[in-house]
């Protein structure tokens, strides 16, 4: 994949993050405002019962999977860019090694994160 596609997905990831992170922030941190407008039901969003309700919901499963995958891609693409920029004496082979190392590390985190989110969903519905 050429850098043009990396960059394109970097932008797409930013858009997805903007949407799902807004939902996350709205629910978890701005619940007072949302409750004031009647968008959310009153109650402590961090209580065990509320967390369990969210964990059972397919919509939240999708939101958190999207947030994690796209945030990982967005962040690690940025990290790669910084490393490549700050190491201008690095050879082409070095850049490829850095790129693949970051990709594999990110992939490992994505698999582990997906497992945690999906396991939470399965356990909550058991």
């Amino acid at each position: 994949m050429r850098d043009s596609m990396f960059w394109f997905w970097h932008l797409m990831a930013a858009i997805v993050i903007l949407i799902v992170l807004s939902i996350h922030f709205g629910v978890m941190h701005l619940e007072g405002i949302l409750q004031m407008f009647g968008i959310m039901s009153a109650g402590d969003v961090r209580s065990y019962a509320e967390v369990l309700v969210r964990a059972k919901t397919v919509a939240y499963l999708v939101i958190y999977l999207l947030l994690m995958w796209f945030a990982l891609y967005h962040g690690f693409y940025g990290l790669r860019s910084i490393i490549v920029e700050m190491s201008d004496k690095m050879s082409k082979a070095g850049e490829i090694v850095v790129g693949w190392s970051i990709f594999l590390f990110g992939l490992g985190l994505a698999i582990y994160g997906s497992y945690v989110i999906i396991a939470g969903f399965v356990l909550a519905n058991a």
Binding site: D3, S4, M5, W7, S81, V84, E85, M86, D88, E95
Partner: protein, 285 residues
Amino acid sequence: MSGTTDSYKTNFTETKDIVFKIFRYEPDVNPKPHFDTFTVPVVKGWTVLDAVMYIKENLDSTVSYRASCRMGICGSCAMEINGKPRLACQTQVISELRSKEVVIKPLANYPVLRDVVPDLTPLIEKHADVRPYILRKDKKVEVNPKGELYQTPDQLEEYLQFSYCIKCGACLAACPVTGADVKFIGPQALTQSYRYSVDTRDDGFKLRLEVMDHSHGVWHCHFAGACSEACPKGVDPAFAIQLFKREITARKFGKEVEPARLARQPADVKRRENIPYAPEKTVKQ
């Protein structure tokens, strides 16, 4: 010397003493750079180049600088003036800088040859890398076209602004990414690459993409906008780079561009007798 000084004096109406601190570096004599200070009686209307010429002619003949046209066309006299890359010939000392002290340094992000003379090799090499000329698949049309290539005024407008580049190098000196990453292709070359890529007569987009579409290419621009601020000709390289990103992405997703066709040579017309023929080519092919 006296004649030159007199010619300056004849134009004096009201002078203002301005202190000029000029970066001095002569690697063969003294590898340590330093600043020399000169007090120059500046007249309203003088540019920094006028003041530097005054210094060379009247105060210190060893001061080295590069200049040619004195009217913002050749781009030779780009230097860092009070912290910003500018053309010395276009920078008014009194009305623009509004400072009692003017600090002159060579352009940043280039090796220094001597004093305020930078080595512009990185600029020229990067510029050459993007093949800044019309490329065609049909080499006969590229090298020796038998007619004009169609282009509408609207199509000309697409790249006209970006063709005003005078290769002064101010944009590279201002670019923070070039400062951090010497491999970065830079705003000047990227702008010229875009300028030719959207020229309807050109068909070299894919060839240029090889130079642009990598980790030190077009995607590495942080969009700081310093290049556009520094450009003395209003080329706006930062804008060109963002347009170029959009163009590359659009073409990746299937945008097709047909290069301009050769206009047919007019038939059934007779040349008027009083129109002279073009002189013979000096280079025979």
